[in-house]
């Protein structure tokens, strides 16, 4: 009998045993973000102004890293077939996977983001808002990523294809995420935060549903 909690714990255990994926995402996030001072020039004002955008874009890209392997391992060794046959609805399986993905690569990002933003000369006063926006936005990234991973299961060049499919869908999230955390914007960004919340609320039921449909196609 597979329960949601059991599935989640198993995925987390696997992730920690392999060690790689979550740490890789964070390392990539930090490294890539730190390329920008070299590319854009080290002037503090310019970097600080772009810091929110850079952090958000890097968060998007970092969340893509482990996506193609989200379902692949289970699919290859037949566990996915067993999960599909189990009483646990496939939608909950997807949710467990997405949650696992977020815990391993999204949550560490929330810790790394303030550090990276500060290195990009971002004013510390804006950090809580940035972390709050990321906290609300990164789960949606994992959910959308799960849809992409399910759609590309078994495809050729799945890793690149996932990015091509998922990034356009994530652009509205990026726009509102940056606007919510932007200290230069008028107001406290509460509308943008509400939109981020709404996007998450929409993604929570819809993404598992779409991803499960895609997984069923893959298992047929």
């Amino acid at each position: 009998m597979v329960s949601f909690k059991a599935l989640l714990l198993r995925d987390l255990r696997l992730a920690f045993r392999q060690g790689g994926d979550g740490a890789m995402a964070v390392i990539f996030f930090v490294l890539a973000a730190l390329l920008f001072p070299f590319g854009l020039g080290p002037e503090p004002e310019a970097l600080a102004r772009d810091a929110v955008g850079i952090v958000w874009v890097m968060a998007l890209l970092a969340s893509l890293l482990a996506l193609d392997r989200l379902f692949q391992g289970d699919w290859e060794d037949g566990s996915l077939d067993l999960l599909a046959l189990s009483p646990l609805p496939l939608e909950l399986v997807v949710l467990a996977k997405a949650l696992g993905h977020w815990l391993v690569s999204g949550l560490p990002l929330l810790i790394a983001a303030p550090i990276v933003a500060s290195m990009l000369q971002f004013d510390a006063a804006g950090l809580p808002r940035l972390v709050a926006a990321l906290a609300l936005g990164t789960p949606t990234l994992s959910l959308l990523g799960a849809v992409g991973a399910a759609l590309t299961l078994g495809a050729r060049r799945a890793a690149v294809l996932v990015s091509l499919l998922v990034l356009p869908l994530e652009i509205p999230l990026l726009i509102f995420g940056v606007a919510a955390a932007d200290p230069a914007a008028t107001g406290d960004g509460s509308t943008q935060f509400m939109v981020l919340g709404a996007l998450l609320a929409l993604a929570l039921p819809l993404c598992p549903w779409a991803a499960a449909a895609a997984l069923r196609q893959a298992l047929d």
Binding site: L151, R156, R157, A158, L161, L165, A210, A213
Partner: protein, 240 residues
């Protein structure tokens, strides 16, 4: 519904309709072009307003094509309708071309009108996203060794991406950005001058007819190609 599911019936009906479709497509295209260049120049924009007669119909077609893509995909997934699968597959490249045309013509219109080739406003961004959705759909379609899997996965993607279409339509109403708000398809009727409205509508009909004609031809070609593959397989089986 299932009366029309028969590919053979589609081939028969489309064979009769195709010459007529092609003819009125050409007629409307010619009429549209003539009207586009006979229309008077705009008070503010001068002759550059003529770009609108390419840009706006392209935009409408980009969205209509995606809507048909989504509908065909839904039919393919729910009823496993063979014609729906083919329709979806053949619609995507047409939609992508219209979307690209919308972006290019919009850029050419934006420079004289607003002084910029591109702006990251809500509508332009979501049309760009639409373009990538088309590309993603076509990539996913061809990414699998098993073509059926590709078609099914792409169908799901088409439905997931459909949320973008209302965003494009209403983005100019929700956000007050660079693009002007809706002036044709709105409650209370169009607000633009008839001398501009008529070329626009004729070009829109022309583009729609072109889309339908090309889609029918592509679907016929696809069905013939399927028959060829079946015959090929049978022949090699017979020889083997």
């Amino acid at each position: 519904m299932h009366r029309f599911a028969n590919p053979a019936r589609f081939m028969r009906v489309s064979q009769k309709l195709l010459p007529w479709l092609a003819t009125i497509t050409v007629l409307f295209l010619v009429a549209g072009l003539v009207l586009s260049f006979l229309a008077p120049p705009d008070y503010q924009q001068g002759e550059s307003v003529r770009i609108m007669f390419v840009h706006v119909p392209s935009a409408w077609m980009a969205m209509c094509a995606y809507t048909s893509l989504a509908l065909a995909s839904a039919a393919a997934l729910i009823w496993r309708h063979p014609l729906a699968e083919i329709a979806a597959e053949e619609t995507a490249p047409l939609g992508a071309v219209f979307t690209g045309l919308c972006l290019v013509s919009g850029s050419l219109w934006g420079e004289p009108m607003w002084g910029t080739w591109w702006a990251w406003d809500a509508r332009m961004t979501s049309v760009l996203v639409l373009f990538f959705l088309y590309l993603g759909y076509m990539a996913l379609l061809n990414a699998f060794d098993d073509p059926t899997r590709g078609r099914r996965a792409a169908a799901i993607l088409a439905l997931v991406g459909f949320v973008n279409v209302p965003i494009i339509k209403y983005s100019v109403d929700w956000w007050n950005t660079l693009h002007q708000p809706a002036s044709v398809l709105r409650m209370g009727g169009p607000t633009i001058d008839p001398s501009i409205l008529w070329p626009l509508l004729v070009m829109a009909v022309a583009f729609t007819l072109l889309f339908v004609t090309l889609l029918v031809i592509r679907m016929r070609a696809a069905l013939i190609e399927r028959k060829i593959r079946v015959l090929d397989a049978a022949a090699s089986g017979a020889l083997g």
